[in-house]
């Protein structure tokens, strides 16, 4: 959901799974004035650990500062700083577009973009599209002329390319 050409940094953060972690992290970002673009949280296969994926753009010095600040939080186990191109990074968009007389056009357009149709209303179509931010953005621009009624986006989750994982070098 970002307009930036993808020069973004991904912070993959492994934390203990405690209710306060999200509050501590959002508090840190707020207090220090760090502008993040997306933040998503999920559980991991290990019951005691959660995974946070943060994307942001910014000067490498600031990103290094953020990494160090994050590591000072007791709940945080590990922070990987990755360039978004080194990741399999995806987000998901739900978008409700006014159908009008353009139902057919929209269906063709969505098919070409690899969307799923998840709901058909009297005068709207809801599409689900997933992929890299650029693809998602492009689709939003394509349907904008038809009238976007509303949309919801998840933010980005990202895994390192290849075989390495966030658990590497953990015991």
């Amino acid at each position: 959901m970002s307009n930036h050409s993808d020069n973004r940094t991904v912070l993959s953060v492994l934390t203990y799974n405690r209710p306060s972690v999200l509050l501590r992290m959002t508090g840190l970002f707020y207090r220090r004035g760090y502008n993040i673009e997306t933040l998503v949280v999920c559980e991991t296969d290990r019951e005691d650990l959660s995974r946070f994926t943060v994307t942001l753009s910014g000067d490498p010095d600031i990103i290094e500062q953020i990494r160090r600040q994050l590591l000072k939080l007791e709940d945080i186990v590990k922070v990987d700083v990755l360039h978004i191109d080194d990741c399999a990074a995806s987000e998901l968009l739900l978008i409700k577009v006014k159908a009008g007389n353009n139902r057919h056009d929209l269906l063709i357009l969505s098919q070409a973009a690899g969307c799923r149709v998840v709901d058909i209303g009297d005068d709207s179509l809801t599409f689900e599209l997933s992929g890299r931010s650029a693809d998602v953005q492009a689709f939003i621009q394509r349907v904008r002329p038809y009238g976007i009624l509303e949309m919801g986006c998840t933010g980005i989750t990202a895994l390192q390319r290849g075989d390495s994982t966030i658990f590497d070098s953990l015991i």
Binding site: Y30, L94, G155
Partner: protein
């Protein structure tokens, strides 16, 4: 990624400012509300953000969450929807072990479930799966025997079914 079937979706429209996420997470933490997922995104209106929260709970608990949220100055509107009344999707990235022997099986499974293949490593394949939480869960369970190396998912975003939108009832 919840195992629970009776999820409620709380769609929140809020002014777009850096403290909103902090205020909301603070409220959930302080009052001990157990939310399952929360995602935030911008909307087509530059001043407004959309936050989608999913949680399971009794009606009284959900009502309490809604009323507490409405007390936050930054929050414009809170819609409570049953997940069945929503188009609700999440996305999972799953890195699965795939040796020369099992690679084909993994790829077949991915195709059967309509996954995209995002990356193929020496010993792993990274797949992107989207859909309702139960679909994603089913797929994850199916892939478990191959060996899931790591996983990342986004949490649920949801829109009401039909033509209605979160902006309904707002002035503009």
């Amino acid at each position: 990624m919840s195992e629970n079937r009776n999820l409620t979706v709380i769609s929140v429209l809020a002014y777009n400012n850096p403290a909103v996420l902090l205020r909301m997470t603070g409220l959930f933490y302080r009052r001990g509300f157990n939310i399952e997922t929360m995602v935030a995104c911008q909307t087509d209106r530059p001043s407004l953000s959309r936050l989608t929260v999913t949680m399971t709970g009794h009606n009284a608990e959900i009502r309490q969450v809604r009323q507490q949220l409405l007390k936050l100055e930054d929050i414009v509107k809170v819609d409570v929807l049953s997940i069945d009344d929503c188009s609700a999707s999440e996305l999972a990235l799953i890195k699965v072990s795939a040796t020369a022997d099992t690679r084909k099986q993994v790829l077949n499974a991915a195709q059967a479930y309509g996954c995209r293949v995002l990356d193929i490593g020496e010993n792993t394949i990274t797949l992107e799966m989207t859909g309702r939480d139960e679909e994603v869960n089913r797929f994850v369970r199916y892939m478990q025997p191959f060996g899931i190396v790591e996983m990342g998912c986004t949490g649920v975003t949801a829109l009401a079914r039909g033509d209605t939108t979160i902006f309904e009832g707002l002035d503009g």
